[in-house]
Amino acid sequence: MQLSREQMLQAYRRMKIIREFEERLHIEIATGAIAGFTHLYCGQEAVAVGVCEHLDTDDKIVSTHRGHGHCLAKGCDVDGMMKEIWGSREGLCKGKGGSMHIADVDVGMLGANGIVGAGAPIAVGAALAAKLDGKGKVSITFSGDGACNQGTTFEAMNMAVVTKAPCIFVFENNHYSEHTGFEYAVGTQLDIASRAEAFGMKVWRADGTDFFAVHETMRDLLVYVRAGHGPAAVEFDTERFFGHFEGDPQRYRGEGELDRIRETRDCLKKFRASVVSAKLLTDADIDAIDAEVLSQIDAAVDAARAAPRPTPEDVLADVYVAY
């Protein structure tokens, strides 16, 4: 099934927003404008967008410490996110959460998460809620190749199978957990998807740097899950362009690795090449989006810089609904 022009433009715009958001954060963090630990999603955009383009606000996602891309793809407000990362009281979480805890339940984004592996059980719960509602909605948990070793991820997979929850386990294998390679930390000689299979799940695999591969894979997978067959898993092979967190000297990378992946595994470049060569979009179409997004991000940064800061009285707000 071919995507419409509008769908393609929107997908590209979403990916580009993530890319520019992150490239800009990379610069701002280096200047010391932003506090805390920030993990950039740059390089993995095709996964977040290829997955989330299939969803509406009643479908839920649960994200990770590397969550900006998932948030943006799911529809979190760009300005609100930027302000949150800057720690403003106008941020999406009023400056309480920061980069690792951005959430917007109203758009079905149930939170980035600082605890590796913590998202999977939460997604199962959201999936059980969807099952109870009976409207074919799904819940998606994103996990890294590191998170797939955490007990909670395994428990969640089994529980989803047992309860036939419409939960989708999206594994983004970017080959590293912090400074450790996938080949070391994931014991199996097989892949992550094979583990999910051993829990009794139907699994898919695709190139996570190819938006169209991700998008098509998810289409098939979602037909299966929305039809009530229970959970499913998918493993996307992808790349992160920056360090584990900002400040990481990345000495674990191979020589020329970063150049190579920026050159050959850049999902935005690949998208452009494929749609232009297939004459689905023109370079001008894409350049126009690039320019718009750039100024959108500029504006977001300006707004975040100027946004009001929280005050000490805010500390005790929102611990409870009522206490």
């Binding site: 839920k60 949150e84 059980p121 719960g125 809620a129 109870l132 909670t152 428990e155 969640a156 929102d318």
Partner: protein
């Protein structure tokens, strides 16, 4: 007015809530029981019989029997709650917060705050706690101090069937995460439960004995032991206020301080070991805010600094008893 057991107050209050509100969902190990067996669903429920009959009435989407995966149980409760449901998750033993703490402490308790107040997470986590069954170090613990220390959680410790009813209803009515601690030695206790649609607001202690000479503060199973001590003291003409805190978070500071302002003498009783316990929490509160009223050192009657031992004699020696409470009271009363 109905007479019922504590465990039935749990079950019937859940049943009632599920009838009224189709967002209420129950999940846990063996909350149905018999799944995947020849006997079939409800062949036999959980070991506390607090969910019997729910599955037959409300079906598998609302009464969810889970694998042995406590992190996933609590996490799923969190996800259900964020997605608009009112989950009631059961941990068979409170000791199993060990295998699910992250989801309680770093997730459920913090969602609302981390998300800037834009979400609610009305998950109720029920768990059976406490000693008295010779179940040894990993199945007998009191965990309220850990949970009380966690901002974002409310912590409830009913000591009677009536309080189970009123406090569980209140938990279900609210929109915050609630830890509901049921003492396993109370499940079989019978008491009156008034009819009608009433609740017990959190943060309101119950005065179960009134007196002018000494304040006894306790929760759960320890309330009865304080009452026994108070009754023994009453025979000597000594009057005790016995305060059942009912909820440890929020805490009814006022009731404690008001009582100590009158009595000037305080004994705090806690089934957990003393270090960083609720007993020290209340002592510290009083030493700060009712200092001028205090006529004697504050005594604490707690478990010793050890795991819960197995043997009958050891567990008996381990748990605070009415005798130990009475002795502490006499010590405080004897201080000049």
């Amino acid at each position: 007015m109905a007479k019922m057991m504590y465990r039935d107050a749990v079950r019937s209050t859940i049943f009632e809530a599920m009838e009224r509100d189709d967002r209420v969902v129950v999940l846990g190990e063996d909350v149905v029981g018999g799944m995947g067996t020849a006997g079939g669903p409800e062949a036999i429920g959980g070991i506390w019989a607090t969910s019997t009959g729910l599955y037959d009435r409300f079906g598998p989407d609302r009464v969810i029997d889970t694998p042995i995966s406590e992190s996933a149980i609590v996490g799923a409760a969190g996800g259900l709650a964020l997605a608009g449901k009112k989950p009631i998750a059961e941990l068979m033993f409170a000791d199993f917060i060990g295998v699910s703490l992250d989801q309680i402490w770093n997730q459920i308790a913090k969602f609302r705050y981390m998300f800037g107040g834009k979400s609610t997470c009305p998950a109720i986590i029920r768990m059976a706690y406490g000693g008295g069954f010779n179940a040894a170090a990993q199945h007998s613990q009191s965990v309220h101090h850990f949970l009380t220390a966690m901002p974002g959680l409310k912590v409830v410790m009913p000591s009677t069937p009536e309080d189970v009813r009123g406090l569980l209803r209140e938990a279900l009515r609210g929109d915050d995460p609630v830890i509901f601690l049921e003492h396993k030695a109370l499940y079989g206790v019978t008491g009156e439960v008034p009819d009608g649609d009433w609740t017990i607001p959190f943060g309101h202690a119950r005065l179960t004995r009134a007196g002018q000479d000494l304040t006894l503060v306790a929760t759960g199973l320890m309330v009865g032991r304080c009452e026994a001590a108070a009754d023994a003291l009453a025979k000597d003409g000594i009057g005790c206020d016995v305060l059942d805190l009912r909820t440890t978070s929020p805490l009814d500071e006022e009731a404690i301080l008001d009582s100590v302002e009158v009595t000037g003498r305080l004994v705090v009783v806690d089934e957990a070991p003393q270090r960083c316990s609720l007993a020290t929490d209340i002592s510290a509160l009083v030493a700060q805010k009712a200092f001028a009223s205090l006529k004697a050192p504050i005594e604490m009657v707690c478990a010793p600094h050890s795991p819960v031992p197995f043997a009958l004699e050891l567990e008996q020696a381990y748990l605070p008893s009415a005798g130990k409470i009475e002795a502490a009271a006499r010590k405080v009363l004897g201080y000049r």
